[in-house]
């Protein structure tokens, strides 16, 4: 490994996603992007779906991207990047280009789980050599916190508001990580900015694997989660320790849990500091809160069963 995995060493590296972007203070996404961009020495070309990250990082004549970067539309970061990567292969094959380049697409959960799902699935099936990184904050945060298919059960959003009759979102979130694994691509992983070394290593490993890779990273949004601006890392750690967001990877079909919580704590610990779940902590919604815990337990048990034990 070229760089020892310490913050001291990493801080000496040139930023590929620089300061001066306009993401909200306390947002989890830029932390995810910064770590992911550090995790390789290769030149990287980035494709970005429309969303918070895109509108905040490249406005008018300013950009926070220290690498070639392309944004076209909301639903097609994967398709756009598959074009860039194909041109790269074509020019390489013809002897017109000789450098080794890596490709990363970034999309939020709306641009990945929902409208961008077809484009992502297509690019993965075609086998383009790229990593698709979803920063998942569980709603369309940029447009004012609307429900996406990544919105967790029970959450209050502006399009599935917790009202007097309906207590927020009534459906489970889509398990996109598993769906991507079902594409039989060589590498799929789930990561969190709280466990930044794990995230770093996953991106680093993904770059060394030829073909399509997908990494799903939880990215707290204090606007949409209605949490404190200094809570992003703590909340993503709670997501891991409650097993709401297990950290695992599926490499060539083999599942491995990369971080096992010392003690699996109740999911309510992750939910309580967030305003979007406030309504669940009332006596009448006890049942729904119970259901959230059951769903987390069920998924964690499934994962434990699937995972390879060393």
């Amino acid at each position: 490994m070229a760089t020892p995995l310490t913050l001291k060493e990493l801080s000496k590296k040139e930023d590929r996603f620089t300061h001066g972007h306009r993401m909200c203070s306390g947002c989890g996404a830029p932390v995810v992007v910064k770590i992911a961009m550090m995790a390789t020495e290769y030149p990287v070309i980035v494709s970005n779906a429309t969303g918070c990250l895109e509108v905040s990082s490249c406005i008018s004549e300013f950009t926070a991207w220290n690498v070639p970067w392309i944004h076209t539309a909301f639903e097609n970061a994967a398709a756009t990047l598959s074009g860039v990567e194909t041109m790269y292969r074509s020019l390489k094959k013809q002897g017109k280009f000789d450098q080794e380049v890596k490709f990363i697409a970034f999309g939020g959960d709306g641009g990945t789980y929902d409208i961008g799902f077809q484009s992502l699935s297509g690019a993965m099936e075609r086998g383009h050599d790229m990593i698709y990184i979803c920063y998942d904050n569980g709603a369309y945060m940029n447009t004012g916190i609307q429900r996406s298919s990544a919105t967790p059960l029970g959450a209050d959003t502006t399009t599935c508001p917790a009202g007097s009759v309906i207590p927020g979102k009534l459906r489970n979130r889509k398990n996109l990580t598993k769906i991507m694994a079902a594409h039989d691509i060589p590498y799929v992983a789930q990561a969190s900015p709280s466990h930044w070394q794990d995230l770093f290593k996953k991106v680093q490993k993904a770059h060394e694997i030829k073909g399509p890779k997908f990494i799903n990273v939880i990215a707290p949004c204090n606007r949409g989660w209605r949490s404190k601006t200094n809570d992003a890392i703590q909340l993503s750690r709670l997501a891991v320790n409650t097993c709401y967001w297990p950290l695992y990877e599926i490499e060539d079909g083999v599942t491995r849990i990369t971080v096992t919580p010392k003690e699996k704590i109740p999911v309510a610990e992750f939910m309580k500091p967030q305003g979007r779940f406030k309504h669940l902590f009332t006596p009448e919604n006890e049942g729904l809160l119970q259901r959230v815990q059951e769903e987390v337990d069920k998924e964690w048990a499934k994962l434990l069963k699937e995972a390879k034990t060393d």
Partner: protein
Amino acid sequence: MAKVVAVTGNEACANALRQVNPDVCGIYPITPQTDMMQRFASFIADGKVDTESILVESEHSSMSACIGAAAAGGRVITATSSQGLALMWEMLHIASGDRLPIVMPVVNRALSAPLNIHGDHSDAMGARDTGWIQLWSENGQEAYDNTIQAFRIAEHMDIRLPIMVCLDGFIISHSIERLEYLEDKQVKDFVGPFRNFLPLLDLAKPKSYGPLILTDLYHEYKRAQHEIMTKVKDVVLDVAKDFEKMSGRKYGIFESYRLEDADVAIVILNSAAGTTKDVIDQFREKGIKAGLLKPRLFRPFPFAEIADALKNAKAVCVMDRADSYGSYGPLFMEVASALYPLEKKPLLMNKIYGLGGRDYLPSHAAQVLTELNEIAKSGKVNVLKEYIGVRE
């Protein structure tokens, strides 16, 4: 030397694309384009081109991938029809807004609903305001010649804009015609090597494609896009001049047929122009001074030149193979706008014909020319917009 062949329009275009040998091609099937792209896929499979294909899961992704590939830095093609072009619509704006010289034959076909796979111009007309250059083609030969010229036009350093080459579905795409192919080397030399402009793959100088532009600059960007369009006409004419030197075939921004001294004229696009020319000859024999104008460059629309070409006619019928429901046909609206500034202008009418592959017959052209002749005499237009060849 040129080789005379009997081929379909799709085959001719596929062959033009082979001769150009682009770097990347987006491929998704749709009738009546499918045959063109599967022929091109065979060229890839047989190693006759260096092209890398992207076998996408939709036309939206096809255009997205083409945009990514063109921004990366290289020559990019795709082709589509109908619903496919409609699905690309969002990305068409992005290709032109990012100034990416993608070349795309569009095999014109009707739009749903009701579902119809046959030829009309609704698809390309729906994309007329997307910032793409549009060249239209009467027959396989023109589709082939336009496809070759399209690369020089789109990639011109003053322009760098995407371009559609329109040809009629089935009537041209699937009919076998006599055609003259250029030699591979001629085409290669004519098109020349691709010249890069701000490629993403220039790693030493990172570029950002597609930033957020707010009210402070968006207006200026869009105005600049219009300014670029004003340069297209001269480039099209220059490229046509070079093409004529090589092939002996002459192209302009439109074709005038017996228009010089015409009292009555039809303005019509693509394959129906051929049928109309025959009927014009018959009317000339009867002593009626009839003529035709066939636009080739539809975007940007050459307003002044078309007004000048039509200004001496007494009556003109603009015929549209597409409609704008609740309005006039799209070609009519352009021609009417072109004529409006003239002090003395011809009487004008609009006929909608041939939708969804309905035959356009010589009798239809004759019916229109007879009516135009009466209007020229009476000075009065009875019905401004009318459907012809329609079952009542």
